[in-house]
Amino acid sequence: MAKLIIPTPLRKFTGDQSTFEGRGATVAALIDELVERHQGVREHLLDADGRLRSFVRVYVGEDDIQALQGTETPVGEGTTVSIIPAIAGGTEHSTP
């Protein structure tokens, strides 16, 4: 079982659970399990095509999956996977 760390802003969709354990053998499979169990998370993690949204990063251990095998990165017993919202913004294109 791999362990997924849920970021604080998404915990209201997981019944305040900060972690989720799943049997998925890849990052994609683990995330599929998560959104299947907690449907409210889906729109904040995945786009209409089921791909990770551009402002969501996923780390396996201390490594960005973009530097590994993307969502096909294997996970397993003892793996810790972190979902990390990309925090950004600013005044550019400022409109009330």
Binding site: I87, A88, G89, G90, T91, H93
Partner: protein, 147 residues
Amino acid sequence: MKQPEDKAVVVHPAAMEVMGEDARRTFPDECCGFFFGHAGAEREVILARPVENHKDGDKRRRFEISPADYMRAERFAVEQGLDLLGVYHSHPLHPAIPSEHDRAVAMPWFSYIILSVHTDGVREVRSWRLDVDRRFQEEALRTLTSA
């Protein structure tokens, strides 16, 4: 502007001072950081911690927080027994109103505190939170007075 029901943010003076000082010190660039406290009917902001603006290039109109800083903030909250309540950033020479870019990448649940900062200092501090339609609604923000 519609006020979300029972959504208010109460900021301790020490936390407000940290955010204000960060906005003044970083001017004319944008500053950014996290704040921590307790999430109840009212959100109580007990402390704030600046982080580096990792945006490449011009930092006067944009900010970005690194994934490593985000992970550290989550861990810090657990260690302190506090909730990671949200993100603050400054709008140098602009009002404390979220931009379309702020909205596009915002997360639910987090409060987003924006400080409008000018050459004479911080003029305005406002807090915003996404509603279920991913639109920002303003939250009432109140700073506690020092004892």
